[in-house]
């Protein structure tokens, strides 16, 4: 799939935002006053910027409001609904902390849960797609959730938890890279099933329907070089998990500098991982174009 910057920004930032909001909502971090303003602002900021980014790739954003209507069937719709509900539910919590100086657990806990549900919904937008076997597995939501929690933990300044989550994230990434590579083959979809010509024999593309590109090819058929991908995977794991863990190991608990450094590493790694998530995902439509 084409790794569109807006979608990478959307999933990475909103994931981080909602992950952090989950920590805040659950009252694991309880800032007050101006600090609360900044901290909640950060959570809301990441979440909202991420959501806004997602609208950049809309062809017709004036209808975006309708995206809330189909929660019964559409994970994208659910994601929208939960995102908004989460932000609304957590708003009083934030306001109480900023102005009242104390947490509002009765709304905070549900808000935290909703945050994670939102991230889960985001992940399901991808995980549900049978057309992209690499995504169509339980590790996809796990990966999104782990990212959200790891980012949240780093932002919350929980060194030990961060390190633990970084270890989990490393494992999840390694797992998803490895299983992902086999998913298309395991899915059973081939050029032969795509064309129905397998009964005759082995199928290859002789001539594409057009010599130029089209929306489908631009969007769904993106080929990353193997060596290139290898390198990026190492970078992704190193930056998203290993470097932040090292920083958190060295930095004193609560050090803003440590948090910032770890976060920058983590976001860089997350962006790389997300880039790979899209770029390495083979859509079965590629089979029709003799590409995968």
């Amino acid at each position: 799939m084409h790794p569109a910057p807006s979608v990478i920004a959307f999933t990475v930032l909103s994931g981080l935002g909602f992950g952090f909001l989950a920590f805040l909502g659950a009252g694991l971090v309880v800032p007050t006053g101006w600090a609360a303003f900044w901290v909640w602002g950060l959570g809301y900021g990441f979440a909202v910027v991420g959501l806004l980014a997602s609208t950049f790739h809309l062809g017709n954003p004036k209808n975006a409001i309708r995206a809330f209507s189909q929660w019964r069937t559409s994970w994208l719709s659910r994601e929208g609904v939960f995102a908004v509900v989460t932000l609304l539910v957590l708003a009083p919590v934030a306001l109480f902390e900023i102005f009242g100086g104390f947490p509002l657990a009765s709304l905070g806990w549900p808000g935290a849960l909703l945050s994670l549900v939102t991230v889960f919904c985001t992940s399901m937008i991808y995980a549900q797609l049978k057309t992209v076997p690499r995504w169509n597995q339980w590790l996809t939501p796990v990966m999104f959730m782990t990212f959200a929690l790891t980012g949240g933990a780093i932002l919350s300044g929980f060194n030990v938890l961060s390190i633990l989550l970084c270890v989990v994230l490393t494992a999840v990434l390694v797992a998803i890279f490895n299983t992902g590579d086999k998913r298309l083959a395991e899915s059973g979809s081939t050029m032969e099933t795509a064309t129905g010509l397998g009964k005759i024999g082995k199928v290859r593309l002789y001539e594409a329907p057009h010599t130029g590109t089209n929306y489908l090819m631009d969007e769904m058929i993106y080929v990353v070089g193997r060596r290139h991908a290898r390198k990026l995977r190492v970078i992704a794991v190193a930056f998203a998990a290993i470097l932040p863990a090292l920083v958190m190991l060295i930095a004193p608990e609560g050090s803003l500098l440590g948090i910032a450094l770890a976060l920058i590493f983590h976001l860089t790694g997350a962006a790389a991982a997300r880039w790979l998530f899209f770029a390495e995902a083979e859509h079965v439509v590629g089979l029709y174009y003799g590409a995968r």
């Binding site: 290859r204 002789y206 057009h210 010599t211 130029g212």
Partner: protein, 933 residues
């Protein structure tokens, strides 16, 4: 929750108006319904009532809307102001343009009309253009058939009095086996597709003989990946098999062909000609009496096995020739690239369907001898062939061999077989002969083109040298019935046979895809002599679009598009039609041009009047016709016979009748075409069918019934052989004698194509194919079609692909004895192992067609033409023959031999000619309905 869905208007208004006319996105000429909205063309669909396409349209037809609105359309008459090729033009008025043309053409006509050469491309108004050229008085006129497929036309006409092209068709409703030789698309585009679909749906079978398995060959049930240039040999091997097994329609041969005619044996100028009586009628031996009688004697039973005073029948000569072991499947297998077993299977399949699945129609008919037949016997095998056969230097003989094979099966003009469309069948004798009698200031002494029956009909000067600039109808290519447009520029440049002054071209992209040796042709067009003048001093050109050729003309006469003008698809020309009906059609301006352009035919008529040409001026010297529409209605070729057959006289007359001022109106009301069905008992066996012959006379196809025998043995060819042997007073130059003896064999034969002389160093055959969705160079200006074919790789067979270690995205250098190109390659498995190919005419010159300079057509696209020379490499005697069939002069495009080497991938194909300045404004970036500008 209940399921909700939006309300939808499923009956929206489709358009304001439908205007019916004829497509010209190619020469198939389907009927179209043009839907207009607010006066603009909104949608084009097929006309269901039309005889050609019955409602369907091809990819090009539906894309016509992108052609009539293409940014590449020329807008004004233009005069060249910069050097040739610079693309520097000045827009001028029509009056100025026409006066300029007259100032060039008039003095030439008075003094030296042959210095004006008028050649036209794939237009459909040859009956007008030739009439004009004849009135002008130059012998130098032809259309494009010489580089197209004259082998197929001439091979057919000299053998059976009709040809494939679009001039005949399988009896699609009844045929059970369709054999297709060397066709990618052809002119009969939609009918062939409809036919194949129908046949296969009926459970019939398609055999494809083609080095490449794409398109029609992809749906063929059996595919024979023949080695290019060897179909003649394959065909004669099939003939050998059929002879051996006696699977031949002897009855048919005896009655309808010259197989029972007798070949004279005595030495002298008549040796090898056929025995005739005092009235010049062919003689056959009547089995009942054992006596020679004229072939058309009522009740005659011609004896195929007869001998008479030492003469044998043609049939015996055929048996002797084709039973020879050199035509055995085993003997030819390697050369044709098909195993002996498959060749034998092929022959068996032909015989099985022709004889075991024969059909009978309960349709009594009477033949030309007056003999009555209770039934019509059908051999449900049909053939079609085109340029894969004809574009080789042995194509004429191969085409003859194919027709002979059809005839041996009795599968021509019978139910389930292949039939001709009016005005065919027409014996070769009924065609005009070439004329070259030039008198300054006067018309030519007759039509330019025709079918020579012997050396006496060649177009030679007193000294025996070629009279025509293209050397058509000379000893080099005696039967060049369509002229040799591909030789005009190089001959004129070389001054061989002479220099000309004005080259007048219409609708042919001679500076690009219709020339061999493109780059050199461009140089010839821009070359100057010692005096600084251009070697070809003046070039007038009519095009509708900003093609590559435009930059090389001095005066541009911009044409309309096909929806903006009158046109006439006439029985006098290349008509449309069906095997059981005559048909013709018109085009009319369904929209008015939005530019300062005029229909070329109207311009030609105007020029004719300004030049005072007979036939174009009335007694008072004024213009005889207002425009082409006026000409279509009022011109009469013979009394009562004009360009259109329908609605003549009072509106009811068909074929013959006085001009009817309402004729065009009536055509428009009728869907822009006219169809005249033949009587039911006349629609098969037409060359011999009394009922058909009488009908053809009635509607004016000819003036008296003209039944004839199929010429398995060709006397005209034998007459040229006789000349080569030294008989007669018109004698070929000595260096051509051997070649004539070989090429002019009167029974179909096969010889190695000339291109094979380079086989050792250049082992690979290189071909082009027409893409179904593109028409030559026109397609690339079409915003929809160019997305389908915007570039063309060279397809390589698995063996070559693997041998050179090619991978996707690789490039290759391809060289021929003449030049080299560097191009992208791709792999194709369904391909003859010694053949490479690409789509034809996708490559474009930078700056042409209103495309951006980095358009893939110009950076990744390419022409094979750069590798093909119009002359063959020098022989031992230092002479260079034209790269053409020695019989007809047909350009031998597919004789090309190449070798291949892998090179580093790159961004630009080679040769990369410098870009030309576009004579039209820059195209809009995006196209969206209503937002073009």
């Amino acid at each position: 929750m209940t399921y909700r869905q939006p309300a939808l208007d499923t009956s929206p208004k489709v358009s304001d108006e439908i205007r019916k006319t004829t497509c010209y996105m190619c020469a198939c000429r389907c009927g179209i319904n043009v839907h207009l909205k607010e006066g603009r063309v909104a949608y084009i669909e097929g006309n269901r009532d039309h005889p050609i396409n019955k409602g369907v349209l091809c990819a090009k037809g539906s894309s016509g809307i992108m052609q009539v609105t293409a940014p590449s359309r020329l807008r004004h008459p233009m005069k060249r102001v910069g050097p040739r090729g610079s693309g520097e033009f000045q827009e001028i008025s029509w009056d100025e343009a026409l006066e300029l043309a007259v100032s060039w053409l008039k003095p030439l006509r008075e003094k030296d009309p042959e210095k004006m050469a008028f050649f036209t491309g794939r237009d459909q108004s040859q009956s007008l253009t030739s009439f004009w050229a004849q009135a002008y008085g130059t012998q130098n006129y032809a259309a494009h058939g010489g580089f197209c497929s004259v082998n197929m036309a001439a091979g057919g006409i000299y053998t059976i009095g009709g040809a494939f092209w679009e001039f005949g068709a399988p009896d699609w409703d009844r045929t059970k086996l369709f054999v297709l030789f060397g066709v990618a698309e052809d002119h009969d585009s939609n009918p062939i597709k409809m036919g194949i679909g129908k046949l296969k749906t009926n459970g019939g079978k398609v055999i494809g003989v083609n080095p490449i398995r794409s398109g029609y060959n992809a749906v063929a049930d059996d595919w024979y990946g023949v080695t290019p240039g060897s179909d003649g040999l394959l065909t004669l091997a099939l003939v050998h098999e059929l002879f051996q097994a006696g699977k031949i329609d002897l009855e048919y041969l005896a009655r309808f062909t010259n197989a029972p005619c007798l070949i004279k044996t005595e030495d002298g100028p008549e040796n090898g000609l056929l025995l005739r009586d005092a009235d010049d009628k062919l003689l056959v031996i009547d089995k009942r009496s054992g006596k020679p009688v004229p072939f058309d004697t009522p009740g005659v039973q011609p004896d195929l096995g007869a001998t008479h005073k030492g003469c044998r029948t043609v049939f015996q000569a055929m048996a002797e020739k084709y039973l020879d072991e050199k035509y055995a499947a085993e003997a030819v297998a390697e050369r044709v690239g098909i195993s002996a077993e498959r060749i034998k299977g092929f022959a068996a399949e032909l015989a099985r369907v022709a004889f075991d699945e024969a059909i009978e129609l309960d349709q009594p008919w009477t033949d030309f001898r007056g003999d009555k037949h209770e039934k019509m016997i059908g051999r449900p095998v049909s053939f079609h062939a085109m340029r894969g056969i004809s574009a080789h230097s042995n194509g004429f003989q191969t085409a003859r061999a194919l027709h002979m094979l059809q005839v041996l099966l009795g599968a021509v003009e019978c139910p389930g077989g292949w039939r001709m469309k009016p005005p065919y069948p027409k014996p070769v004798e009924a065609h005009p002969k070439p004329h070259c009698g030039v008198t300054p200031g006067k018309p030519l002494n007759g039509p330019h083109l025709g079918y020579p029956l012997g050396p006496e009909h060649l177009a030679l000067k007193e000294d025996g040298s070629p009279s025509r600039i293209d050397k058509a109808f000379s000893w080099e290519n005696p039967l060049s019935a369509h002229g040799m447009m591909h030789m005009v520029i190089s001959n004129a440049h070389a001054g061989d046979p002479y220099k000309i002054d004005t080259l007048f071209l219409y609708m042919a992209n001679m500076a690009w895809n219709s020339s061999m040796n493109t780059r050199a042709v461009i140089e010839m067009l821009t070359d100057t002599g010692e005096d600084g003048e251009y070697v070809i001093p003046r070039i007038i050109y009519s095009d509708a679009y900003s093609s590559e050729m435009v930059a090389y003309a001095d005066l541009i006469l911009p044409d309309t598009t096909y929806l903006e003008r009158h046109d006439c698809i006439s029985l006098l020309d290349r008509p449309i039609g069906e095997a059981d009906a005559a048909a013709d059609a018109i085009r009319w301006p369904v929209v008015e041009p939005d530019r300062n352009v005029r229909g070329f035919q109207s311009v030609l008529i105007d020029l004719g009047a300004r030049l005072g040409l007979p036939g174009f001026v009335n007694e008072g010297g004024g213009a005889k016709y207002k425009d082409y529409a006026d000409y279509i209605v009022n011109h009469e070729r013979r009394p009562g016979v004009g360009p259109l057959m329908g609605f003549r006289g009072n509106g009811e007359a068909v074929g013959r009748g006085a001009p009817n001022p309402d004729q065009i109106k009536r055509y428009i009301e009728n869907g822009a075409f006219f169809l005249a069905h033949m009587p039911e008992d006349g629609s098969y066996f037409k060359p011999w069918n009394k009922s058909y012959q009488d009908w053809a006379v009635k509607i004016g196809l000819f003036d008296a019934p003209s039944p004839y025998l199929f010429s398995l043995y060709s006397e005209p060819m034998r007459r040229f052989q006789l000349a080569a042997e030294g008989h007669g007073d018109r004698q070929p130059p000595d260096h051509l004698r051997d070649r004539l003896k070989r090429a002019m064999e009167p029974l179909p034969c096969w010889y190695t194509p000339f291109g094979d002389e380079d086989a050792e160093d250049y082992p690979i055959h290189a071909l082009t194919q027409r893409p179904m969705a593109m028409y030559h160079s026109w397609g690339s200006q079409n915003a929809w079609l160019r997305q389908i074919h915007g570039q063309n790789p060279l397809y390589l067979p698995t063996a070559i692909w693997e041998k050179h270690g090619f991978a996707e995205g690789d490039w290759a250098r391809v060289s021929s004895p003449h030049g080299e190109i560097v191009v992208p390659v791709a792999h194709m498995a369904g391909l003859n192992p010694n053949t490479v190919w690409t789509w034809n005419a996708i490559g474009k010159r930078k700056g042409a067609w209103a495309l951006e300079e980095n358009a893939p057509e110009a950076t990744k696209g390419f022409l094979l033409n750069h590798l093909i020379h119009e002359l063959l490499p020098a022989k031992g005697d230092g002479l260079r023959w034209s790269n053409s069939d020695p019989v007809t002069g047909q350009a031998a495009w597919f004789d090309l031999r190449v070798k291949i080497e892998k090179v580093a991938a790159r961004h630009q194909t080679e040769p990369n000619l410098p870009s030309i300045k576009s004579p039209v404004p820059k195209a809009p970036k995006h196209r969206r309905q209503g937002e073009e500008a």
